[in-house]
Amino acid sequence: MASFIQLLISGLATGAIYALIAVGFTLLWQTSQTINFAQGEFVMLPAFFVLAAMNWGAPFWLAALIGIAAALVVLGLLFKLIVVDPMLRYGVLPLVISTIALSLLLKESVKDFYSAQAQAFPPLVPDADVHLFGAVVSTQSLVVLGVAIATVAALHLWLNKTRTGRSMQATAQNPALARILGIPVQRMVLYTFLVNAVLVAIASILISPIYLAKFTNGETLGTAAFIAAIIGGFNQVRGAILGGIILGVLDNLSAAYLSSQYRGAFPLLILIAVILCRPQGLLGRVEERTV
């Protein structure tokens, strides 16, 4: 039982990170039909902003704020202006290829300008162990879980309880109608990119103490979050959250109780099952398209 709780909490913490990243996938898709294959690298990069700020002498809390601010500018504003806006008019596929190229650029740039070696990253709280029903859980895992839940809850409240949030939802559901209603659609789309930048920066700061900061981190994270978003439903934020949690927990439990050798196959089996039985995802809605 203790082992099960240990695996469950660890899986929930990992799943919560996947959920944060997957939410970014769904937000960008809903508002601008952007599938961002550089999303994993977006999570990798802010950790290096933070480390660079610390190298210049900033304390961790200030470096984290600088990291989030830099992510807002580079991964939110500049990404939209330089990559998405010019490419979007040519359809989804050229944009997808552009984001793949961007992911390579980010990865290799970090390797060349910072280091190819993994870097230790300071934790949000001092590392200590908490005993829960016989299981040993690190405070880091609990903080990751707590901050991720709080972030998703804050996002949910913002989207549903504020005028800007509701305008963003309207833009996502029907941009033409939103424009007629006087909603500044372009500004709402920009907000979505900025929200995504904040989400990936938070995910980066949460996960880097565990994953270590390394230029290749985005490969695993991006793939896992993409699968999570499809499993949960690419057009629903709550679907992405569910998909992330399922993936994180399943990864740990399958490795411990089924086979560690085939742990990478289980998420893909679930993905295939979801695509076959419920193509819109577990919580997604069916989208009809005129052809």
Binding site: S3, Q6, L7, S10, G11, T14, E108, K111, S115, A116, Q117, A118, A120, D127, D129, V136, S138, I207, I210, Y211, L212, K214, F215, T216, N217, E219, T220, D251, N252, L253, A255, A256, S260, Q261, R263, G264
Partner: protein, 380 residues
């Protein structure tokens, strides 16, 4: 027609017109390495060690009066790209090829170099590399069939374990090491009670540590890449693993110790190459490396450095740039630091391209790797 062609060739050869430019004033020794992708740490360490040696040799006039021309080609840590890069350099008639470091890449490249009869000096450690009767492949460090018996002896005689759990990374390096280790355990009647495979780049080791802890082994053998080793050690500490953790170079390196942030304390194992070796020539090399590159070199840096000096020594011994003769001469040779100081430690190559040299038993004490015993060459 024939006579005029022959005349033209003779005239051209006399004026050095028919040979490529690099063949006139330099010797072409390309390096195919993991400069990007997951293997970039290993590849760049190998590259930096190699370039240090090349600059030293070129500054003293090169090999047999010719400067070393060593262009770098990136495998992107992908076996398929590595094969394409090796094919590309073979088209330019290299003398010797350096790299790659990843065993998986070496295993797909070596058929090409064997066919072209060009020696390839590699960083890969998988046992299979030198078990294919390829007379053109040579190692720069121990193959697993040489290092695992040393670890197995230590687990039997030093730890006195009757059972062992093994955790390994599921790639050519990890699988080769795991298979050789399990065979060595069976030969010593030590039971393998847990056999856990992990993925390259894996971040969460909680499930793996739960499985290993449940096995209750007398010792745990860890055979992962460096960063994964650090993550595993942190998780093992968190879950209170009590059994001694034993490993190879990838578990005891300073980078792993730093990344594990205290969790590597007490870890023990066999180290084939290390800058912490109590050998003045190695420590002097480590100092020069750090001064030039501003980071501490790992074992791959030593591989790259010594590989170039091995080429220099053998070439000067045979007195000409003949790839086939180079390969024949390297088999069975022993090079001492007196013969060639750049090899750092005495090294002997066997008929398969495997090498034998001194190695070390290390332990992590106060955040540093401490060499506790020097193990002699297996052949002594």
């Amino acid at each position: 027609m024939f006579r005029s062609g022959l005349f033209a060739t003779l005239i051209g050869t006399a004026f050095g017109l028919t040979t490529p430019l690099h063949a006139q004033s330099s010797v072409y020794i390309p390096a195919v390495l993991e400069l990007s992708g997951a293997g970039a740490v290993s590849g760049t360490n190998f590259r930096d060690g190699m370039l240090l040696a090349i600059d030293e040799i070129n500054a003293k006039g090169g090999i047999l009066g010719r400067k070393i021309d060593a262009p770098l080609l990136d495998t992107q840590s992908d076996a398929g790209i590595s094969r394409a890069q090796v094919q590309k350099v073979l088209d330019n008639n290299p003398y010797v090829i350096l790299g790659p470091v990843f065993s998986g890449s070496v295993l797909v490249d070596m058929a090409l170099t064997q066919q072209a009869e060009i020696p390839e000096i590699v960083g890969g450690e998988a046992a299979a590399i030198t078990q294919k009767n390829d007379p053109y492949v040579f190692r720069t460090s121990f193959g697993q069939q040489f290092s695992m018996p040393k670890i197995a002896n230590y687990i039997r005689d030093g730890v006195k374990a009757k059972s062992v759990a093994v955790i390994w990374v599921n790639n050519d390096f990890g699988k080769g090491g795991r298979d050789t280790f399990v065979k060595e355990m069976a030969a010593r009647n030590i039971k393998v009670v847990a056999d856990v495979s992990t993925e390259s780049g894996q971040a969460d080791f909680s499930a793996d540590v739960v499985k290993i802890n449940a096995a209750n082994a007398d010792a745990i053998f860890v055979y992962l890449n460096e960063e994964e080793s650090a993550r595993f050690l942190r998780e093992a500490k968190k879950q209170g693993v009590k059994a001694p953790l034993i490993g190879e170079t990838t578990l005891l390196g300073q980078k792993v110790i730093d990344l594990a942030q205290g969790a590597a304390e007490g870890v023990r194992g066999h180290v084939g190459l290390t800058v912490d070796a109590p050998i003045p020539a190695v420590q002097d090399f480590a100092e020069r490396f750090k001064k030039r590159y501003n980071y501490v070199c790992d074992h791959n840096g030593i591989k790259g450095y010594t590989a170039v000096y091995i080429i220099k020594h053998v070439t000067e011994k045979i007195g000409k740039f003949d790839s086939r003769l180079f390969a024949q001469t390297l088999h069975g040779i022993t090079i001492t630091p007196d013969d060639e100081p750049g090899v750092l430690m005495e090294v002997t190559f066997d008929a398969n391209g495997d090498l034998d040299r001194q190695s070390f038993l290390g332990e992590v004490v106060n955040g540093k790797q401490k060499i506790v015993e020097i193990l002699p060459k297996l052949g002594k």
